[in-house]
Symmetry: C2
Subunit: 409 residues, 2 copies
């Protein structure tokens, strides 16, 4: 008998009808002879409504009280889902985060999980009951209610799967799996049968919003086998696990992309050892996130630094730099908007040094100018003009043969 | 420095505006130099909305899961009130029932409080913080979330006041205090300055819905000084305490009344020792609540029993009795509807045996026929025709001089 952890997000439990539907899926898994632990988020717009209530009271509510407020959202869902399962004749017990033994650090709104005391859950499972756990929340050793921040419910599910040594952790969401690229924009996008943790991490970090990177990292650290699938459609999803041996021949597994990227260049900087640190410490102090950074180190007296940032940060970044022109000793500040970042991802790249070159060649053949490049062991990102983002992705998707049918294990 | 427990009901915290108003009142009490613990109910219609959600899922939701669901209501209010107080610059910490150390018996939907572990609350108070506790809820020793059933938030407040040895427990509600009779119907009704626990108990049990009898009993057992006042109007309320010495000359302190009363008479019953028990065990097994019972015990072979019950129970009571006619061996079943119960209450009655007689005389002088009578140490109840209920109350209110200005202590 295997333990399966299933996680259903806010849209999947957004109404009484959807909760009934989830109950049906859980019942099916139980009927297959599994012990099931279900993690749920707050119903659809509940969290937004609670945030609105708080904002009507205070424009700066304390994090502790926000945690007290928001954790009611998941508690409502767990009890309703338990009722729906009981109506189907199944034993079901709901637990808030603290009841489920999820112990977090003493920090509000973004706490990390320290430990999960699984005795209660395990005793309920051994009684044949489904256990339903409120996602996104836990409590400190002192009984202070905490929330886990962004990606919290995914993280709850993965952490529970690790602590319970579950056979699998299924993340049910509003997409049917992980795709080679975003199917909303690229018609040839194909669902992946499986993908490695590292590849998924890059995909997640590059804006493929299926799974939160934090949950993927957790899964990687504890070797939790993840499955991403749709809560609406009965369809095999994408498996995320360590080794994807049968597909090693596929060097590039997916293509991520995002628009609203801008590039800033700071020229005439002193060519000194602390220049890079000075510029980015300053930006960091002002909360400006920077993505790709390029410095072309030469033997000359002056140097220049380019970096990319989101469109929403552009104005503040320019202002902050301009205000510190004397301190940083640069001569010129230029910027370029309307850019996009296109990234190819695949763990096979490590052993195939020519992949980046291949990407540049494909883009060049399609007359797409690369503004900036960044590489890691398993991805290559290129900044291009925003208006040719989709054609660029299409060209790469085609050239790397991602449209072709995948080998199934 | 005194500890004051304040309780605000659902209407008093029914909107963001009303929560702000409550925060203002709490701040005022703090400014007077008191340590304040606030108990709140769920906002206005929240509980109804949650019950509706559950009913859409299941027509028989388990009590455990209903407790999980409903306790979110108060948790929302406590966090919002804490935010509102923090905005005013006050230190404030909200606690759910289990966080506040409220330990209950292992029973859902109607649990009794076993113990309150006050360490957390006390340490917050000594830091100068207002503590806000979710009413109506607690948890078992095993961490199962429970609710306290009807009158639960009042009971939470009184129990906290007892455990913290508070100087006073203020119950803020939508009326300005306890009245000699219901001011919505009787124009001469006057607010009482103070009333004893026993008198309040009788008033509460007789439909003066200001305070739940359970909370009054708790207050009596632990000698908690209660104050009932309005959350909306700045006005001195009614104090409920053991001795009301200055007012002992007032024999009758209040008049309660309720309509929708019916009377059933079972005639021709065998005059045996077990007859009374047989009839009322049967009714009790069918969940029929009976109020006043009269049996005129004579030496005859046959006897009859009369009792009063609510209009809503009449039909079922008649049916149950009729179905057991042979078993109970009675000959006739009659009933009378459209009745009302009028009760005079006052702890001074104990030492004034003539009070009941005085009541009958007043009613007789007003040509009001008494259908049935019941007495206790501190009250006399009489059943009368429903249509003359208000005139009967008015006559008694006048004759017992309840309209006159009360002596203030």
């Amino acid at each position: 008998m295997a333990i399966i952890v299933q996680k259903y997000g806010g849209t999947s439990v957004g109404s009484v009808e959807r909760i009934e539907h989830v109950a049906g899926r859980v019942a099916k898994t139980v009927a297959q002879g599994h012990q099931v632990v279900v993690v749920v988020s707050a119903m659809g717009k509940t969290t937004d409504q609670l945030v609105k209530l708080a904002s009507e009271i205070s424009d700066k509510p304390s994090k502790r009280e926000m945690d007290m407020l928001l954790t009611t959202g998941e508690q409502i869902t767990i009890s309703l889902l338990a009722m729906a399962l009981q109506k189907r004749g199944l034993g079901a017990t709901s637990y808030t985060g603290w009841q489920a033994g999820i112990v977090t650090e003493d920090s509000h709104s973004n706490a990390r999980i320290l430990d999960i005391q699984t005795e209660k859950i395990q005793s309920q499972l051994s009684l044949g009951n489904v256990v339903i756990v409120a996602g996104f929340q836990g409590a400190t050793h002192d009984g202070e209610i905490t929330t886990l921040g962004r990606g919290g419910s995914d993280t709850t599910a993965v952490a529970l799967a690790a602590a319970l040594k579950a056979d699998r952790c299924d993340i049910y969401t509003d997409v049917t799996g992980v795709y080679t690229t975003d199917p909303r924009f690229i018609s040839g996008a194909r669902k992946l049968h499986s993908i490695s943790y590292d590849e998924m991490l890059e995909m997640a970090n590059l804006g493929a919003g299926v799974l939160h990177p934090r949950a993927v990292e957790f899964a990687k650290n504890y070797q939790v086998k993840l499955m991403v699938a749709s809560s609406m459609v009965e369809e095999v999803g994408t498996l995320i696990e360590e080794e994807v041996s049968m597909e090693q021949n596929l060097i590039v597994r997916g293509i991520a992309f995002e628009n609203d990227v801008t590039k800033i260049t700071v020229s005439g900087l002193p060519n000194q050892i602390e220049t890079l640190s000075n510029v980015f410490s300053l930006l960091s102090e002002h909360g400006i996130n920077v993505d790709i950074i390029i410095q072309n180190q030469t033997a000359e007296e002056k140097t220049s630094i380019s970096f990319s940032t989101s469109r929403s940060s552009l104005e503040e970044a320019l202002e902050v730099l301009d205000n510190h022109k004397e301190q940083l000793q640069f001569t010129e500040l230029t910027h370029e908007g309307d850019l996009a970042k296109v990234s190819i991802i695949g763990s096979g790249m490590v052993s195939n040094p020519g992949v980046a070159a291949q990407m540049f060649k494909i883009l060049a053949e399609n007359e797409i100018l690369i503004k900036m490049v960044s590489t890691s062991e398993i991805k290559v990102s290129a900044l291009v003009e925003e208006e040719i983002m989709v054609p660029a992705v299409e060209a790469l998707h085609r050239a790397f043969q991602l449209e072709e049918q995948e080998v199934t294990v």
